[in-house]
Protein backbone atom coordinates (compact mmCIF):
# COMPACT_ATOMS: atom_id res chain seq x y z
CA UNK A 1 0.00 0.00 0.00
CA UNK A 2 1.19 3.51 -0.77
CA UNK A 3 0.27 6.35 1.57
CA UNK A 4 0.65 9.87 0.18
CA UNK A 5 0.14 13.51 1.08
CA UNK A 6 0.28 16.45 -1.30
CA UNK A 7 1.10 20.08 -0.58
CA UNK A 8 0.34 23.01 -2.89
CA UNK A 9 0.81 26.60 -1.81
CA UNK A 10 0.92 29.89 -3.69
CA UNK A 11 3.71 31.17 -1.45
CA UNK A 12 2.37 34.74 -1.81
CA UNK A 13 2.51 34.59 -5.62
CA UNK A 14 -0.50 35.82 -7.54
CA UNK A 15 -1.03 32.52 -9.30
CA UNK A 16 -0.22 28.91 -8.69
CA UNK A 17 1.64 27.78 -11.80
CA UNK A 18 2.87 24.35 -10.61
CA UNK A 19 0.79 21.20 -10.59
CA UNK A 20 0.71 18.06 -8.50
CA UNK A 21 -0.88 15.12 -10.25
CA UNK A 22 -1.74 11.84 -8.60
CA UNK A 23 -3.64 8.73 -9.66
CA UNK A 24 -3.85 5.43 -7.85
CA UNK A 25 -5.66 3.26 -10.42
CA UNK A 26 -4.50 1.10 -12.20
CA UNK A 27 -1.09 1.92 -10.72
CA UNK A 28 0.17 4.77 -8.54
CA UNK A 29 1.36 7.61 -10.75
CA UNK A 30 2.71 10.76 -9.16
CA UNK A 31 3.80 13.81 -11.11
CA UNK A 32 4.96 17.28 -10.13
CA UNK A 33 5.04 20.02 -12.76
CA UNK A 34 7.29 23.02 -12.06
CA UNK A 35 5.51 25.76 -13.99
CA UNK A 36 6.74 28.49 -11.65
CA UNK A 37 10.41 27.76 -12.35
CA UNK A 38 12.33 30.93 -13.12
CA UNK A 39 14.72 29.00 -15.34
CA UNK A 40 12.04 27.46 -17.53
CA UNK A 41 11.19 29.01 -20.91
CA UNK A 42 8.16 26.78 -21.35
CA UNK A 43 4.72 28.34 -21.80
CA UNK A 44 2.88 25.13 -20.95
CA UNK A 45 0.11 25.58 -18.39
CA UNK A 46 -0.55 23.18 -15.52
CA UNK A 47 -3.84 22.20 -17.17
CA UNK A 48 -2.09 21.18 -20.40
CA UNK A 49 0.40 19.11 -18.40
CA UNK A 50 -2.36 17.34 -16.44
CA UNK A 51 -4.41 16.64 -19.57
CA UNK A 52 -1.44 15.15 -21.39
CA UNK A 53 -0.44 13.04 -18.39
CA UNK A 54 -4.00 11.75 -17.97
CA UNK A 55 -4.04 10.80 -21.64
CA UNK A 56 -0.72 8.96 -21.76
CA UNK A 57 -0.61 7.42 -18.27
CA UNK A 58 -3.69 5.26 -18.78
CA UNK A 59 -2.59 2.70 -21.36
CA UNK A 60 1.10 3.19 -22.05
CA UNK A 61 4.02 1.61 -20.30
CA UNK A 62 6.23 3.97 -18.30
CA UNK A 63 9.08 4.26 -20.80
CA UNK A 64 6.74 5.05 -23.69
CA UNK A 65 4.78 7.49 -21.57
CA UNK A 66 7.94 9.40 -20.64
CA UNK A 67 9.15 9.49 -24.24
CA UNK A 68 5.89 11.08 -25.38
CA UNK A 69 5.88 13.60 -22.54
CA UNK A 70 9.49 14.51 -23.23
CA UNK A 71 8.67 15.07 -26.93
CA UNK A 72 5.52 17.10 -26.34
CA UNK A 73 6.86 19.17 -23.43
CA UNK A 74 10.44 19.80 -24.51
CA UNK A 75 11.20 22.81 -22.32
CA UNK A 76 9.03 21.99 -19.31
CA UNK A 77 10.33 20.89 -15.92
CA UNK A 78 8.57 17.95 -14.33
CA UNK A 79 8.97 14.59 -12.63
CA UNK A 80 6.87 11.46 -13.04
CA UNK A 81 6.95 8.43 -10.73
CA UNK A 82 5.10 5.18 -11.20
CA UNK A 83 4.89 2.60 -8.44
CA UNK A 84 3.92 -0.94 -9.34
CA UNK A 85 4.22 -3.72 -6.77
CA UNK A 86 7.62 -3.33 -5.17
CA UNK A 87 9.17 -1.26 -7.93
CA UNK A 88 9.34 2.42 -8.61
CA UNK A 89 10.10 4.03 -11.94
CA UNK A 90 11.30 7.63 -12.08
CA UNK A 91 11.66 10.13 -14.91
CA UNK A 92 12.60 13.73 -14.28
CA UNK A 93 13.49 16.83 -16.26
CA UNK A 94 14.74 20.09 -14.75
CA UNK A 95 14.16 21.35 -11.26
CA UNK A 96 11.94 18.67 -9.76
CA UNK A 97 13.53 15.90 -7.70
CA UNK A 98 12.59 12.79 -5.76
CA UNK A 99 14.58 11.90 -2.64
CA UNK A 100 14.31 8.58 -0.85
CA UNK A 101 15.14 7.67 2.76
CA UNK A 102 17.37 4.58 2.83
CA UNK A 103 19.30 3.20 5.82
CA UNK A 104 19.22 6.43 7.76
CA UNK A 105 20.31 8.47 4.78
CA UNK A 106 18.64 10.59 2.10
CA UNK A 107 19.45 9.80 -1.52
CA UNK A 108 18.46 11.41 -4.79
CA UNK A 109 16.34 9.09 -6.93
CA UNK A 110 17.81 9.08 -10.46
CA UNK A 111 15.94 8.23 -13.65
CA UNK A 112 15.33 4.47 -13.87
CA UNK A 113 13.57 1.59 -12.13
CA UNK A 114 14.34 0.64 -8.52
CA UNK A 115 13.16 -1.78 -5.86
CA UNK A 116 11.05 -0.58 -2.93
CA UNK A 117 10.80 -1.93 0.60
CA UNK A 118 8.16 -1.55 3.28
CA UNK A 119 8.75 1.62 5.25
CA UNK A 120 10.54 3.45 2.42
CA UNK A 121 9.77 7.14 2.32
CA UNK A 122 9.98 9.37 -0.72
CA UNK A 123 9.70 13.13 -1.09
CA UNK A 124 8.96 14.61 -4.51
CA UNK A 125 9.25 18.38 -4.69
CA UNK A 126 10.27 21.34 -6.79
CA UNK A 127 13.67 22.98 -6.37
CA UNK A 128 11.94 25.95 -4.75
CA UNK A 129 10.57 23.67 -2.02
CA UNK A 130 13.98 22.03 -1.49
CA UNK A 131 15.83 25.33 -1.47
CA UNK A 132 14.59 26.12 2.05
CA UNK A 133 15.50 22.71 3.48
CA UNK A 134 18.64 20.71 4.19
CA UNK A 135 18.91 16.99 3.53
CA UNK A 136 19.51 16.47 7.26
CA UNK A 137 16.26 18.28 8.12
CA UNK A 138 14.24 16.30 5.55
CA UNK A 139 15.74 13.06 6.87
CA UNK A 140 15.14 13.86 10.55
CA UNK A 141 11.51 14.79 9.84
CA UNK A 142 10.97 11.54 7.92
CA UNK A 143 12.38 9.46 10.76
CA UNK A 144 10.38 11.07 13.57
CA UNK A 145 6.97 10.80 11.90
CA UNK A 146 4.58 7.91 11.34
CA UNK A 147 2.57 9.34 8.46
CA UNK A 148 3.00 11.30 5.26
CA UNK A 149 0.87 14.20 6.50
CA UNK A 150 2.96 14.60 9.69
CA UNK A 151 6.17 14.49 7.64
CA UNK A 152 4.86 17.18 5.30
CA UNK A 153 3.73 19.34 8.23
CA UNK A 154 7.21 19.30 9.71
CA UNK A 155 8.79 20.18 6.36
CA UNK A 156 6.36 23.06 5.91
CA UNK A 157 7.20 24.25 9.43
CA UNK A 158 10.88 24.41 8.45
CA UNK A 159 10.10 26.46 5.34
CA UNK A 160 7.80 28.68 7.38
CA UNK A 161 10.56 29.30 9.94
CA UNK A 162 12.78 30.49 7.08
CA UNK A 163 10.36 32.77 5.22
CA UNK A 164 6.79 32.52 6.58
CA UNK A 165 5.81 30.80 3.29
CA UNK A 166 6.42 34.00 1.30
CA UNK A 167 8.71 32.38 -1.22
CA UNK A 168 6.77 31.58 -4.37
CA UNK A 169 4.89 28.42 -5.36
CA UNK A 170 5.56 25.42 -3.15
CA UNK A 171 4.68 21.96 -4.44
CA UNK A 172 5.52 18.59 -2.94
CA UNK A 173 4.30 15.06 -2.34
CA UNK A 174 5.34 12.72 0.48
CA UNK A 175 5.00 8.98 -0.10
CA UNK A 176 5.28 6.10 2.33
CA UNK A 177 5.39 2.42 1.35
CA UNK A 178 3.48 0.24 3.83
Amino acid sequence: MIEYFTFKHNGESETYKDEVYLTVVPSVTVAVFYGSSKKSTSQVSPEVFSALLAEVSRDLDFARMCTIMDERLPRSEFLVLRIEGHHIACFRKGGVKAKIVINGDLKLLPNGIFGLNDGDRILVATDNFYSHLTNEGILADALVTDSCSEWMNLLVRRISDANQLKCGNLSAVTLLVR
Binding site: G11, N103, G104, D105, G119, N135, E136, A140, V156, R157
Partner: protein, 300 residues
Protein backbone atom coordinates in the same frame (compact mmCIF):
# COMPACT_ATOMS: atom_id res chain seq x y z
CA UNK B 1 80.78 -17.83 25.54
CA UNK B 2 82.40 -14.39 25.83
CA UNK B 3 85.03 -14.12 28.51
CA UNK B 4 84.25 -11.18 30.83
CA UNK B 5 87.00 -11.94 33.33
CA UNK B 6 89.39 -9.43 31.80
CA UNK B 7 86.83 -6.59 31.92
CA UNK B 8 86.66 -4.26 34.88
CA UNK B 9 83.84 -4.98 37.36
CA UNK B 10 82.13 -1.66 36.54
CA UNK B 11 81.92 -2.47 32.83
CA UNK B 12 80.47 -5.90 33.55
CA UNK B 13 77.87 -4.25 35.79
CA UNK B 14 76.92 -1.83 33.00
CA UNK B 15 76.60 -4.67 30.50
CA UNK B 16 74.35 -6.54 32.93
CA UNK B 17 72.16 -3.44 33.43
CA UNK B 18 71.93 -2.90 29.67
CA UNK B 19 70.98 -6.54 29.16
CA UNK B 20 68.31 -6.32 31.89
CA UNK B 21 66.90 -3.12 30.31
CA UNK B 22 66.83 -4.77 26.89
CA UNK B 23 64.95 -7.81 28.25
CA UNK B 24 62.47 -5.54 30.08
CA UNK B 25 61.88 -3.44 26.95
CA UNK B 26 61.44 -6.57 24.83
CA UNK B 27 58.92 -8.07 27.27
CA UNK B 28 57.03 -4.75 27.44
CA UNK B 29 56.89 -4.64 23.65
CA UNK B 30 55.47 -8.18 23.56
CA UNK B 31 52.92 -7.28 26.26
CA UNK B 32 51.75 -4.08 24.49
CA UNK B 33 51.50 -5.85 21.14
CA UNK B 34 49.45 -8.70 22.59
CA UNK B 35 47.12 -6.28 24.42
CA UNK B 36 46.56 -4.25 21.24
CA UNK B 37 45.83 -7.37 19.19
CA UNK B 38 43.37 -8.62 21.82
CA UNK B 39 41.62 -5.20 21.90
CA UNK B 40 41.33 -5.24 18.12
CA UNK B 41 39.88 -8.75 18.16
CA UNK B 42 37.38 -7.65 20.83
CA UNK B 43 36.37 -4.57 18.83
CA UNK B 44 36.04 -6.61 15.65
CA UNK B 45 33.67 -8.92 17.51
CA UNK B 46 31.61 -5.96 18.76
CA UNK B 47 31.46 -4.04 15.52
CA UNK B 48 31.36 -6.92 13.03
CA UNK B 49 33.49 -6.19 10.01
CA UNK B 50 32.97 -2.46 10.05
CA UNK B 51 35.81 -1.46 12.38
CA UNK B 52 37.70 0.25 9.55
CA UNK B 53 34.83 2.72 9.26
CA UNK B 54 33.93 2.93 12.93
CA UNK B 55 33.81 6.49 14.23
CA UNK B 56 34.39 7.53 17.81
CA UNK B 57 32.68 10.32 19.72
CA UNK B 58 34.84 13.21 20.91
CA UNK B 59 32.68 14.71 23.67
CA UNK B 60 32.80 17.95 25.65
CA UNK B 61 30.22 20.00 27.53
CA UNK B 62 29.56 23.20 29.44
CA UNK B 63 26.93 23.92 32.07
CA UNK B 64 26.56 27.54 33.22
CA UNK B 65 24.13 29.48 35.40
CA UNK B 66 23.99 32.71 33.40
CA UNK B 67 22.25 35.48 35.37
CA UNK B 68 19.80 33.16 37.09
CA UNK B 69 19.99 32.42 40.79
CA UNK B 70 19.45 28.70 40.31
CA UNK B 71 20.89 26.22 37.85
CA UNK B 72 17.78 24.74 36.27
CA UNK B 73 19.64 22.94 33.46
CA UNK B 74 20.93 19.43 33.98
CA UNK B 75 23.15 17.36 31.69
CA UNK B 76 23.98 13.68 31.41
CA UNK B 77 26.71 11.89 29.45
CA UNK B 78 26.94 8.10 29.66
CA UNK B 79 30.24 6.40 30.61
CA UNK B 80 32.49 6.78 27.55
CA UNK B 81 34.45 3.61 28.30
CA UNK B 82 31.29 1.65 27.41
CA UNK B 83 30.72 3.50 24.15
CA UNK B 84 31.73 0.66 21.83
CA UNK B 85 29.23 -1.73 23.36
CA UNK B 86 26.39 0.45 24.62
CA UNK B 87 26.86 3.68 22.68
CA UNK B 88 27.05 7.25 23.90
CA UNK B 89 23.94 8.76 25.45
CA UNK B 90 23.96 12.53 25.92
CA UNK B 91 21.06 14.51 27.35
CA UNK B 92 20.16 18.05 28.40
CA UNK B 93 17.13 18.96 30.45
CA UNK B 94 15.97 22.50 31.10
CA UNK B 95 13.69 23.08 34.10
CA UNK B 96 10.80 25.33 33.19
CA UNK B 97 11.46 28.74 34.74
CA UNK B 98 7.82 29.75 34.90
CA UNK B 99 7.03 26.82 37.14
CA UNK B 100 8.24 25.95 40.63
CA UNK B 101 10.80 23.20 41.16
CA UNK B 102 12.27 23.48 37.64
CA UNK B 103 15.68 22.74 39.09
CA UNK B 104 14.46 19.64 40.90
CA UNK B 105 12.64 18.25 37.89
CA UNK B 106 15.51 18.65 35.39
CA UNK B 107 17.87 16.91 37.83
CA UNK B 108 15.33 14.17 38.41
CA UNK B 109 14.94 13.63 34.64
CA UNK B 110 18.66 13.15 33.96
CA UNK B 111 19.11 11.01 37.06
CA UNK B 112 16.29 8.70 35.95
CA UNK B 113 17.84 8.56 32.46
CA UNK B 114 21.20 7.61 33.93
CA UNK B 115 19.55 4.62 35.61
CA UNK B 116 18.17 3.50 32.24
CA UNK B 117 21.70 3.15 30.83
CA UNK B 118 22.61 0.92 29.05
CA UNK B 119 19.65 1.47 26.73
CA UNK B 120 18.65 -0.80 23.87
CA UNK B 121 19.71 1.14 20.76
CA UNK B 122 17.44 -0.94 18.53
CA UNK B 123 14.34 -0.08 20.54
CA UNK B 124 13.83 3.70 20.34
CA UNK B 125 10.10 3.19 20.91
CA UNK B 126 10.92 1.46 24.19
CA UNK B 127 13.20 4.32 25.26
CA UNK B 128 10.45 6.77 24.33
CA UNK B 129 8.05 4.85 26.57
CA UNK B 130 10.54 5.13 29.44
CA UNK B 131 10.69 8.91 28.93
CA UNK B 132 6.89 9.00 29.01
CA UNK B 133 7.02 7.10 32.30
CA UNK B 134 9.42 9.70 33.72
CA UNK B 135 7.03 12.41 32.56
CA UNK B 136 4.10 10.66 34.24
CA UNK B 137 6.08 10.39 37.47
CA UNK B 138 6.73 14.15 37.37
CA UNK B 139 3.07 14.78 36.61
CA UNK B 140 1.95 12.61 39.52
CA UNK B 141 4.28 14.53 41.84
CA UNK B 142 3.57 18.10 40.71
CA UNK B 143 0.27 18.02 38.73
CA UNK B 144 1.53 20.49 36.06
CA UNK B 145 3.14 22.64 38.78
CA UNK B 146 6.62 21.76 37.51
CA UNK B 147 8.18 20.56 34.30
CA UNK B 148 11.27 20.39 32.15
CA UNK B 149 12.35 19.96 28.55
CA UNK B 150 14.51 17.08 27.42
CA UNK B 151 16.77 16.49 24.42
CA UNK B 152 18.75 13.28 24.17
CA UNK B 153 20.87 11.52 21.56
CA UNK B 154 21.99 7.90 21.52
CA UNK B 155 24.93 7.16 19.22
CA UNK B 156 26.15 3.66 18.43
CA UNK B 157 28.26 2.41 15.52
CA UNK B 158 27.94 5.54 13.34
CA UNK B 159 24.16 5.74 13.84
CA UNK B 160 22.13 8.12 15.98
CA UNK B 161 18.65 8.10 17.48
CA UNK B 162 17.30 11.24 19.08
CA UNK B 163 14.53 12.08 21.53
CA UNK B 164 12.99 15.46 22.23
CA UNK B 165 10.31 16.91 24.47
CA UNK B 166 9.81 20.68 24.66
CA UNK B 167 11.94 23.39 23.08
CA UNK B 168 15.60 22.50 23.63
CA UNK B 169 17.89 21.82 20.68
CA UNK B 170 19.52 18.95 18.82
CA UNK B 171 21.71 20.45 16.12
CA UNK B 172 23.62 18.60 13.42
CA UNK B 173 26.46 20.32 11.55
CA UNK B 174 27.46 18.50 8.37
CA UNK B 175 29.67 19.91 5.63
CA UNK B 176 29.03 23.45 6.88
CA UNK B 177 25.24 23.05 6.95
CA UNK B 178 23.64 23.66 10.34
CA UNK B 179 20.32 21.89 10.89
CA UNK B 180 18.08 21.85 13.92
CA UNK B 181 16.99 18.21 13.85
CA UNK B 182 14.11 18.36 16.32
CA UNK B 183 11.14 20.71 16.23
CA UNK B 184 10.17 22.89 19.15
CA UNK B 185 6.88 21.66 20.59
CA UNK B 186 5.31 25.07 20.97
CA UNK B 187 2.03 26.73 20.07
CA UNK B 188 3.41 28.31 16.90
CA UNK B 189 3.58 24.89 15.24
CA UNK B 190 -0.20 24.52 15.54
CA UNK B 191 -0.75 28.01 14.11
CA UNK B 192 1.60 27.36 11.18
CA UNK B 193 -0.28 24.21 10.30
CA UNK B 194 -3.61 25.99 10.35
CA UNK B 195 -2.41 28.94 8.26
CA UNK B 196 -0.52 26.87 5.69
CA UNK B 197 -3.51 24.59 5.15
CA UNK B 198 -5.65 27.63 4.43
CA UNK B 199 -3.15 28.83 1.82
CA UNK B 200 -2.07 31.92 3.78
CA UNK B 201 1.43 32.99 4.71
CA UNK B 202 2.39 32.26 8.31
CA UNK B 203 3.71 35.60 9.57
CA UNK B 204 0.71 35.96 11.94
CA UNK B 205 1.71 32.76 13.72
CA UNK B 206 5.02 34.23 14.86
CA UNK B 207 3.36 37.44 16.09
CA UNK B 208 0.99 35.56 18.38
CA UNK B 209 1.65 36.38 22.03
CA UNK B 210 1.53 32.68 22.94
CA UNK B 211 3.71 31.56 20.00
CA UNK B 212 6.53 30.29 22.18
CA UNK B 213 4.31 28.64 24.79
CA UNK B 214 5.15 24.97 25.17
CA UNK B 215 2.47 22.47 24.24
CA UNK B 216 4.52 19.54 25.52
CA UNK B 217 7.12 19.01 28.24
CA UNK B 218 8.28 16.40 30.74
CA UNK B 219 5.65 16.59 33.46
CA UNK B 220 2.74 16.98 31.05
CA UNK B 221 -0.10 14.47 30.84
CA UNK B 222 0.45 11.95 28.01
CA UNK B 223 3.64 13.61 26.81
CA UNK B 224 4.43 13.26 23.12
CA UNK B 225 8.10 12.28 22.77
CA UNK B 226 9.42 13.26 19.36
CA UNK B 227 11.88 10.50 18.45
CA UNK B 228 13.44 8.71 15.54
CA UNK B 229 11.94 5.32 14.78
CA UNK B 230 15.04 4.41 12.76
CA UNK B 231 18.50 5.88 13.29
CA UNK B 232 20.24 8.57 11.26
CA UNK B 233 23.54 7.62 9.59
CA UNK B 234 26.48 9.67 10.88
CA UNK B 235 29.68 10.51 9.01
CA UNK B 236 33.20 11.55 9.91
CA UNK B 237 33.38 15.22 11.00
CA UNK B 238 29.67 15.41 11.79
CA UNK B 239 29.16 17.65 14.82
CA UNK B 240 26.16 17.19 17.10
CA UNK B 241 25.11 19.79 19.66
CA UNK B 242 22.60 18.99 22.38
CA UNK B 243 21.73 22.24 24.10
CA UNK B 244 19.19 24.16 26.12
CA UNK B 245 17.61 27.31 24.67
CA UNK B 246 19.87 29.52 26.82
CA UNK B 247 22.53 28.91 24.18
CA UNK B 248 20.51 29.49 21.01
CA UNK B 249 18.55 32.44 22.43
CA UNK B 250 21.87 34.22 22.96
CA UNK B 251 23.75 33.10 19.83
CA UNK B 252 21.90 32.29 16.62
CA UNK B 253 22.51 29.07 14.68
CA UNK B 254 24.18 31.10 11.92
CA UNK B 255 26.63 32.59 14.40
CA UNK B 256 27.31 29.17 15.93
CA UNK B 257 28.16 27.84 12.49
CA UNK B 258 31.46 29.74 12.47
CA UNK B 259 32.54 28.02 15.71
CA UNK B 260 31.58 24.50 14.75
CA UNK B 261 34.33 23.45 12.37
CA UNK B 262 35.58 19.89 11.79
CA UNK B 263 39.22 20.88 12.37
CA UNK B 264 38.38 21.82 15.99
CA UNK B 265 38.14 19.36 18.87
CA UNK B 266 34.86 19.05 20.77
CA UNK B 267 36.49 20.75 23.74
CA UNK B 268 37.61 23.72 21.64
CA UNK B 269 34.15 24.11 20.11
CA UNK B 270 32.52 23.93 23.54
CA UNK B 271 34.89 26.65 24.79
CA UNK B 272 34.10 28.89 21.80
CA UNK B 273 30.35 28.45 22.27
CA UNK B 274 30.52 29.17 25.98
CA UNK B 275 32.59 32.32 25.40
CA UNK B 276 30.20 33.49 22.66
CA UNK B 277 27.23 33.26 25.01
CA UNK B 278 29.12 34.97 27.85
CA UNK B 279 30.38 37.74 25.57
CA UNK B 280 26.79 38.62 24.70
CA UNK B 281 26.46 39.86 28.31
CA UNK B 282 22.68 39.59 28.21
CA UNK B 283 21.26 41.13 31.40
CA UNK B 284 18.75 38.28 31.75
CA UNK B 285 20.95 35.49 30.44
CA UNK B 286 19.18 32.17 31.08
CA UNK B 287 21.07 29.09 32.29
CA UNK B 288 22.99 27.73 29.31
CA UNK B 289 24.27 24.22 28.78
CA UNK B 290 25.41 22.19 25.81
CA UNK B 291 27.07 18.92 24.95
CA UNK B 292 29.27 18.92 21.86
CA UNK B 293 29.94 15.62 20.09
CA UNK B 294 32.30 15.37 17.15
CA UNK B 295 32.42 12.18 15.10
CA UNK B 296 36.10 11.33 14.67
CA UNK B 297 37.91 8.67 12.71
CA UNK B 298 38.69 5.80 15.08
CA UNK B 299 42.37 5.18 15.96
CA UNK B 300 42.05 1.67 14.55
Amino acid sequence: MPDFTLLPDQTVLLIEIAAALFVTAFLSFIYVSLTTILSLVRLKKIAGNDTDDLLVCDVAYFHCKGKRENQEDAVYISPLEDSFTNGVVAACSDGMGGLLYGEVVSRYVVERLSHLYPMNFDDPDGISEEIKKISSEVYEQYRLGAGATLVMTHILKNKMNFFSVGDSNIILVRKGRVTLLNHKQNYVSLLIRKLSESGSNTSEAYKNSRAKALIDFVGNIETNVMHTSKPIQLYEDDIIIISTDGVTDAVSLNKLKGMLLPEFSAQHMARLMKSAVRNKRLPKQDNFSAIVIKMDRSII
